[in-house]
Symmetry: C2
């Protein structure tokens, strides 16, 4: 499969030669590799991404370099992330083919993945949310994706033997895990050269985060859970920039942070980034569009995403309750009443985890290293600060009070209360 | 190092030949291998254990066979447990040399460990507790052992990189982990051919365990935590049969169940087995010795074990708080007040985990496959049943109510209330 035995960073010219020498990639272009056009489109933080087009089709080629792209070679980062990305794409793709692009080719030595091109009019969900586009199927699709990928990689479905083997394998993706630890669970709560915020407007807010003992107590618990608890194979970076959408289609990309970790980290990333999008809307409102209806749609999507996820996840659990999953053996949890109580507890705990992780992800996007375009695209810094501050205050309150919420409706009510909408 | 490339089960004769051909073992016997005496002493459930004596010294040789010794070859079990036992003995021995025997020789192909002979008058702690012997240093020693082995293998001391590497390695000890899952967290709560109890006296009690939905809800949470949460390198079977004692010395043996799991599983195993010993005392009382003072000593030992463990563990934490441990970075948890709050929460959570796991271990010893000599040696079955029932009721109450306890003194008060002593 490998077209080269050693790593070389590709450019547009050498990529063409690589594709011509690699049957799986050439085939994905209909074998028409005489005249290829190549466009580098990596707007993420980490990797190089090329769209390669022949007159018979297109393919995406993604290459990891031994550093973080947006920082440069001053921040080294293992190329092995490409291996874990390819592994997770294949595993999650098997479990949820409708919402994960196929991998056509993986070259471990080159840290290179060839995968299905997600065609226009697909755009990054975050950009759609900024533009105010409605995605009526988003909640259904994401609930499907999260329920399938998380349930089928957990001990609700698998034996301990299978689980431990997979856990061990993904333990090697530790550099990516450490990157998350630093940027999500550490830097925002300390003085760090990587932090930035909308200064001077949020100077006091950033300082308050660093001095909030209650918040630090909670973030420590979440960080330990993130490192220690191998609950399911998570995507690991499921924000709205890792999702490509049209009104009819939802495709999840970029799982290079995948490892066995708490399910709530994925669910929280998705919901937390929707809440960020919600708080950014006031900054995008203008006379032509006050965005009020769109804000309601975002809240409805958050509510539906959780409730549909819960419904689908419990559906899978009930369907497979007599299977090989070792968490709840049928001989013990053998009556509907007990199973109902067990499931209610499981989902409530998962909601609390998701709210904790989701809030942590919101906080880090406001006072940590990597911000979101939802806010960054608001030109007026003062207006932007007011949106960011409300999101930050909301996240802090949810993080600290997460165990009080018993339903997503209560969370939505809290989000609404911050803005009095 | 290996004296043989392939596995052969040894007997007393072939063991002598093996030792003569193995320099590290011959050296541990002062090189005097002409006239060796060999005695098989494995009274545990799993392995063969030989004491080999020359006129210059003694050594223990332990061999794992590919099944569980007490059941026979109808219950196959990986010989690789010897590898994990040797690994854990070495790692825990490095961290706590006073309370762990040295490994002189390990032969992976033969699943064979040569280690320090723990000399008479050392006896198994469980036997000492049945005999009513006082061990004034036991709490100190076990607090030392638990604090050192658990702290130094956790993220309070280590980097995530080191931690994940070790976690991955011990994931391979999955068969032993599954054995625990079955006998501790599953079988006692379902109809299983392996379960036994003091019948007919405890028939209703065993049935009540199988029908207690509240208990099953809690045991599911503990089981998931046991499988999913890689908190520290635990011994994995730290009952009073895995500890050898004199009044001056405490030696922990038999860590073949070692893997990265919740710390509370070890602490709970030790404390839970002391509570079993406490409830067994009434069955050992006679006119010469009513055991009342001894019961008080056991309770005092439980109290001191936890409190000294907590003190030593927090002492290590404070000593190393500016080190490489990644759970609580000094730049974030940088003030004494916050660190105090964080530590209090950590220790309270750990107490609750320990009480949960400890209670689960008590329950399984009364209605599961493997019982304890503390009770089994009480000849009068009716008297034995009354001791067992009180222990079982106590364990069920602690397991369900564990989050209400804020100190070990409150737990002791509860244990006392069951017997009105």
């Amino acid at each position: 499969m490998a077209a080269g035995d050693e790593f070389r960073p590709l450019d547009e010219a050498s990529l063409v030669a690589y594709i011509r020498a690699t049957p799986a990639l050439a085939a994905s272009l209909g074998g028409r590799v005489d005249a290829l056009s190549v466009k580098e489109v990596g707007d993420g933080n980490l990797n190089f991404v090329y769209i390669v087009t022949s007159d018979a089709g297109s393919v995406v080629v993604k290459q990891a370099l031994p550093y973080i792209r947006c920082v440069g070679d001053s921040w080294p980062m293992t190329r092995e992330r490409a291996y874990f990305e390819a592994s997770a794409l294949r595993e999650h793709g098997r479990l949820c083919p409708d919402h994960v692009p196929e991998v056509y080719h993986f070259d471990r030595a080159m840290s290179l993945i060839g995968m299905r091109y997600i065609k226009p009019p697909h755009i990054i969900l975050r950009k759609g949310l900024i533009a105010g586009v409605h995605y009526p199927l988003l909640a259904h699709h994401m609930a499907d994706y999260m329920a399938n990928t998380l349930f089928f990689t957990s001990l609700l479905y698998n034996s301990t033997t299978h689980h431990k083997k997979q856990v061990a394998r993904y333990c090697e993706n530790v550099e990516m895990c450490r990157l998350t630890e630093q940027v999500v669970f550490s830097d925002p709560y300390m003085v760090s050269k990587y932090n930035r915020w909308n200064s001077p407007f949020l100077d006091k807010d950033a300082e308050a985060v660093r001095e909030d003992d209650g918040l630090k107590l909670e973030i420590a618990e979440l960080k330990s859970m993130f490192i220690e608890r191998a609950q399911a194979l998570i995507h690991g970076d499921l924000h709205t920039g890792s999702i490509m959408v049209t009104p009819d289609s939802t495709q999840v990309i970029d799982p290079e942070f995948a490892f066995y970790a708490p399910m709530g980290y994925d669910i929280g990333a998705f919901l937390g980034n929707l809440i960020l999008a919600y708080f950014a809307q006031d900054g995008h409102a203008d006379q032509a569009n006050d965005r009020k209806a769109y804000k309601q749609w975002i809240l409805k999507t958050i509510e539906e995403s959780w409730n549909l996820f819960q419904q689908k996840f419990l559906g899978l659990w009930n369907k497979h309750k007599d299977g090989n999953g070792e968490a709840y053996l049928p001989a013990i949890y053998n009556n509907p009443e007990l199973l109902g109580v067990v499931q209610k507890k499981y989902m409530t705990d998962l909601l609390h985890d998701s709210l904790g992780f989701g809030s942590a992800k919101m906080i880090r996007r406001i006072v940590g290293i990597a911000h979101v375009e939802d806010f960054d695209s608001i030109e007026d810094a003062s207006k932007r600060a007011s949106c960011e501050r409300r999101a930050l205050d909301c996240a802090k309150a949810i993080l600290k009070g997460r165990r009080q919420f018993e339903s997503i409706e209560q969370v939505i009510a809290h989000v609404r209360s911050v803005t009095h909408d």
